[in-house]
Amino acid sequence: MPARRGWSRSSPRPYGGAAPHAVWAVPGVLFFVFFAVAPMVLAVYLSFTTWNGLGDPKPVGLANWDKLLRDDRLTQSLTVTVLLTVTSWAFQTVVSLLLGVWAAGRQRNRAILSAIFFVPFLLSSTAIALLFYALLDPNFGVIHQDTLGSTSGAFLAIVFVGGWQFIPFHTLIYQGGARQIPEVLYQAAAIDGAGRYRQFFSITLPQLRNTATTSSVLMIVGSLTYFETVLILTQGGPGTDTAILPYLMYEAGFKSYDFGYASAIATFLVVIATALSLVLVRLTGFGAMRSTREGM
């Protein structure tokens, strides 16, 4: 790729003649605001109304929020969501970090294996959920037992299926990150007598910090939305044991037609997603986010 990659924030902005007017960005921004940002604001408003999908929403004050905070299903759903997010994050990060660093090497067999590793990402979540729904079927599948019928089985199935689908993508991100690490660092370490594992922990891991932040934010937001997988594999079951927040919201809205309540759950979901992303960015250092942004 090219020799020059962006310019640093501190250097004077290079001037290369006419730059496009900021107005050029307006159509894109308006479209995005209308279909993604405005609905978020509208969700907050709807959480203070009652609406069954017909007619217009009617304000009801705090009723939905009051109901939400008293709802036992919310506590359970929140616990499942957090457990699922943390487990998925750990599983996907460990596997994709190792695979990504390994795949950053350049022999032929790695290129071929990496190409095969990527294939699950090409199937839709729906297709993947259906595939494992079939393979986990006690009468038909590979394991002749009712995996999805037990709480831990259903939970682990969702974690595994999510990983199976998204590890290819995160492997790629880590692979890209590992390839950006300057070779001189390894040469210097080798001269100092550092072995392979020492190099991994002292150079590769710290150098991949920004990559890990980006990947983790995407993973966490991603696993908050394992909706298809849950809907198809377990329908939130057994019982309500795998009813993650988005599924709870879907049930409240599109099965019980209680859209005000569903909006309260959705608002709650946004708050959690945003808070998690922010905490993660802070934990890994504000500078990390800035330089990631710079690089993008």
Partner: protein, 299 residues
């Protein structure tokens, strides 16, 4: 690793023409790493076994499927299951999905290319603010906005139409597309802009004669990424459409579950069929897709 690295500086000095790439390759491949190699083979099994079981089961006759181990190759392979799927609306769902994908790609390109151009070339409060908005947009879960979007779609009289799927899908593909495009746009050397400026080129001419040709890699990544989003979308079609008319592939698959009941081979045949078009695209455009996505978290 330490011992054989030591003499290298001397060697490089003796052979000054050794390209950087070769040097880099030497580091990574110097000694096999058996643990990592084994781990990668293990993951290969995790990836391949379900895919193999799916293809093998989709070729199994339905009456032989139950109680059979899905890992055994079919004794009497048949394409009957594929036939069943193709006669149950598959072509219609496929055409709808292709239409949605094309429209989403079109909208995303028309909106995001100028956006990325402004984000990289124009440093005003407004353009930086717009770029930040898209960075934050990456973290908005589609689930969170589906209820208000449902209200908006109903009020716009778009419910149960393909547009109801296309518009929100395009909006949610925009943040990552913008990030990919700004990534490649930054790689254009400043000298090129300066050279064009000397010729008196306007910002518009630079867009068409410099930016677009030079960001072809990023643009093709965005095309594939946005198409993949449209291809895989489930939630928006599930909630914003109802009838068979605007039904897309993912919903078609979902419906096959109830339609085929215990006919799992047919269900798996539909999953295989749904993967074939996107797999074909992957074979052709692998480099663009992989290269661009690699940059998302890389730098």
């Amino acid at each position: 690793m330490s011992h054989d690295t030591l003499p290298r500086p001397v060697k490089t000095a003796e052979e000054p023409v050794e390209p950087a790439r070769t040097r880099r390759r030497r580091h990574w491949t110097k000694r096999p790493n058996p643990v990592a190699g084994l781990g990668s083979l293990l993951w290969l099994a995790v990836v391949i076994i379900p895919i193999y079981a799916m293809i093998s089961a989709s070729l199994t006759r339905q009456d032989k499927a139950l109680g059979n181990n899905a890992l055994k190759p079919p004794t009497d392979p048949t394409f009957a299951n594929y036939n069943t799927v193709l006669h149950n609306g598959f072509g219609h769902f496929l055409a709808n999905t292709a239409l949605v994908a094309a429209a989403v790609v079109g909208i995303v390109l028309v909106l995001c290319v100028p956006l990325a151009y402004v984000a990289v070339r124009t440093r005003t409060v407004w353009s930086t603010g717009a770029f930040r908005l898209f960075l934050m947009g990456v973290a908005i879960p589609a689930q969170a906005v589906v209820v208000p979007l449902y209200l908006m779609i109903a009020k716009l009289d778009l419910y149960d139409s393909l547009l109801a799927v296309i518009l929100p899908t395009a909006a949610f593909a925009m943040p990552v597309s913008t990030l990919i495009l700004t990534g490649t746009l930054r790689d254009i050397s400043e000298d090129l802009y300066e050279a064009m400026a000397l010729d008196g080129a306007s910002a518009t001419r630079m867009l068409f004669q410099l930016v677009i040709p030079m960001t072809k890699g990023g643009i093709s990544t965005v095309v594939i990424y946005a198409a993949l989003q449209a291809w895989n979308g489930f939630l928006f079609p599930l909630i914003f459409t109802q009838s068979d008319g605007p039904r897309v592939l993912t919903l078609g698959l979902f419906n096959y579950v109830s339609q085929f009941g215990v006919n799992i081979p047919a269900l798996l045949a539909s999953v295989v069929l749904s993967g074939i078009p996107i797999f074909a695209v992957y074979l052709v455009a692998r480099r663009a897709l992989v290269g661009g996505l690699m940059g998302v978290g890389g730098k």
